[in-house]
């Protein structure tokens, strides 16, 4: 797979404004803000690539550097062969950025007027622009709102507009900064479908997706990078990251016929053999939840179930939850001392 996005050793430090003047006037010195440090990544053509990290980890700065809105302090970004500093106009023709910043539209203009304006800036002619706008309004279910002022839209619809604008010139690379942040669950599912279909379409689009919704990242992305304090901590497929960092799963049993105290007593035999900790909570009069962790595929669940059933408990349900990307993120952040 050839690289659509090549990020080499990119660092970004935001300088202190008027630092020389502040020094001259002997004002209190502020430290420059280091947003990215030595970031190196490659994203292949047609790949959906996820970027996860906490607020302030550097995700948005990286997206803005790729979109040429911010210049790196060091390193280089190459978008389909074009350098983001030396050939910024060409890079912008290749990239669509949908940021979570809803102020970047004209609030007194309608949905359609906004899209027509940006279509012209992308160099689309009247006919091509109108056709593309029609497609996007349809795709994002904005057609009934086309004559509504942007300022009158709901936050979710504003977010759809941002993604629609990013796709106006059908760019081969899309940077989606938290594209489902303000959407209701149904609209978010539709947006995920759209993102998935873009990558699988006849002209696959390369997508860099940042999100706090880790389930979304796992569902959509072929690879994920974990970014923390401006550094890339790991890059891998979501399931490999999970497996490498957490080969454990959480188990939650719901029982009837015993109370919480009796359930723990029955499980004591299992607990004494292992270091596993069982926790029990009384949910209703006759319903108890037992939670514990186990290594994937060990026999602790089997032994716990046997002990409970032999002790007179009736197992109502058994749910298991594998380690998620959240666990991966938390692990890295514990290592870097962020939590």
């Amino acid at each position: 797979m050839s690289a659509a996005l090549s990020i080499q050793n990119v660092s970004k430090t935001y300088p202190v404004p008027l630092a020389a003047t502040r020094r001259l006037l002997r004002m209190k010195e502020r430290a420059p803000v280091e947003a990215l440090n030595g970031v190196t990544l490659e994203v292949g053509e047609g790949e959906v690539f996820g970027l996860i990290g906490r607020n302030g980890a550097g995700k948005t700065t990286l997206a803005k550097i790729i979109a040429t809105l911010v210049q790196p302090t060091e390193g280089s970004v190459n978008v389909r062969g074009f350098d983001s500093v030396r050939e910024e106009e060409r890079v912008r023709a290749q990239v669509g950025l949908a940021s979570a910043e809803e102020r970047s539209f004209y609030w007194r203009l309608t949905v359609e007027q906004n899209l027509v304006f940006f279509a012209r800036l992308y160099g689309l002619g009247s006919r091509d622009g109108a056709r593309r706008i029609e497609e996007l309004l349809e795709l994002f279910e904005l057609t009934p709102l086309r004559r509504r002022r942007f300022g009158e839209l709901s936050t979710g619809n504003k977010q759809r507009m941002a993604v629609a604008r990013a796709m106006l010139n059908s760019p081969p690379v899309l940077l989606l900064d938290e594209p489902t942040r303000s959407l209701d669950p149904l609209a978010a599912a539709t947006m995920r479908q759209v993102i998935g279909s873009l990558a699988r379409g006849p002209r696959p689009v390369t997508i860099l997706l940042t999100s706090h919704n880790l389930a979304e990242i796992e569902e959509l992305c072929e690879r994920v990078a974990v970014i923390s304090r401006g550094r890339i901590r790991a890059v891998d497929e979501p399931h490999s990251l999970r497996a490498a960092h957490r080969n454990r799963e959480r188990v939650r049993l719901k029982l009837r016929g015993v109370d919480a105290e009796r359930a723990l007593e029955l499980l004591r035999a299992v607990q004494s053999e292992e270091s596993a900790q069982f926790a029990a909570e009384q949910l209703e009069d006759d319903l108890v939840a037992v939670n514990f962790e186990r290594e994937s595929e060990d026999d602790r669940l089997d032994r716990a179930l046997r002990a409970l059933v032999e002790g007179g408990a009736h197992v109502v349900s058994c749910e298991t939850e594998r380690g998620t990307l959240l666990d991966v993120l938390e692990t890295f952040e514990r290592e870097t001392g962020e939590v």
Binding site: K12, Y14, P15, P17, A35, T61, K64, A67, T68, L69, V70, Q71, T73, E89, R90, R92, A93, G96, L97, S99, E101, R103, S104, F105, Y106, W107, R108, L109, Q113, V116, F117, F118, R120, L121, Y122, G123, G125, R165
Partner: protein, 276 residues
């Protein structure tokens, strides 16, 4: 050829956008027309106070109303040239829309031209109204070549626009407190002889202040326009003023574009492109 079509398409997009924004504030549009009518009428009545009461050595000022009505609309135009880009940048930064615009493959020169285009369309209309009200309501007669007056108008506006690009560069990096708008904006009205002959400054306040009047491009622009429209002078008579304006332009335009491109780069380095 394709680049020109693309440029014109983008300029049109900005003009249409700004027109749509302007008509979303309908009352302001009509109030502005009304205010021009009031200003023109007020100036006419003030000029009547002096009608036939004094002889002046300043040929352009024998009819003060004519001198004002030929200077005000053009000063308005020049000031648009000076302030439109900085205002557009400030407005886009404060609204947060500059990020949206700069995400598209638009070059700096295109941004400079396109974001000022609507202001010039509006200024042309307002300037025309001053001249029209003077002619239609108060019997003002303009002499000389209108084409020559337009040449002065274009040249002076471009010079002011170059200074305006420097002002916009300041807005891009420092956001507020632009010293150029204070210097050029306020001093132009005083030093360039809009309301009284510029020669009076050197005659009463000394030659160094007279030198300042000569440094300001609008002095030469307004003088040239009055020479054409009031005194009916020809190209040969006004080529000195044209030469001065052309020299200003040759120096200021490339310099200001260079500074503007650097200020955009600096704002990108500092990450303050969309901040206000």
């Amino acid at each position: 050829m394709r680049a020109l079509v693309l440029l014109l398409g983008r300029v049109r997009a900005f003009v249409v956008r700004d027109f749509q924004l302007a008509v979303s504030y309908r009352v302001e549009f009509f109030m502005r027309i009304l205010s021009i009518l009031f200003v023109t009428t007020t100036l006419y009545f003030i000029s009547r106070i002096f009608a036939g009461s004094f002889a002046t050595p300043y040929e352009q000022w024998r009819d003060p109303f004519l001198a004002w009505i030929t200077a005000l609309p053009f000063l308005n135009y020049f000031m648009v040239g000076f302030s439109s880009l900085a205002n557009a940048i400030r407005s886009e930064q404060s609204q947060g829309t500059l990020e949206g615009v700069l995400m598209t493959p638009i070059g700096i020169p295109t941004l400079v031209i396109a974001s000022s285009a609507w202001d010039f369309v509006q200024a042309s209309f307002h300037s025309f109204l001053y001249l029209f009200f003077g002619w239609a309501l108060f019997g003002v007669e303009y002499k000389g070549s209108f084409m020559l007056a337009v040449l002065f108008l274009l040249l002076t506006t471009l010079v002011l626009a170059s200074i305006g690009i420097l002002s916009a560069s300041f807005a891009m990096v420092f956001k507020r407190g632009d010293p150029l708008s204070l210097l050029v904006g306020t001093s132009s009205v005083f030093f360039s002889g809009v309301f009284f002959p510029a020669q009076l400054i050197s005659e009463t306040a000394g030659s160094w202040l007279g030198f300042v009047t000569q440094l300001i491009p609008t002095t030469h622009g307004i003088d040239g326009i009055r020479r054409v429209l009031i005194q009916g002078q020809s190209f040969a008579d006004v080529r000195g003023q044209l030469f001065i304006l052309f020299n200003y332009l040759a120096v200021l335009l490339p310099f200001s574009l260079w500074v503007f491109a650097r200020s955009v780069r600096r704002a990108k380095r500092e990450g303050s492109l969309i901040q206000y």
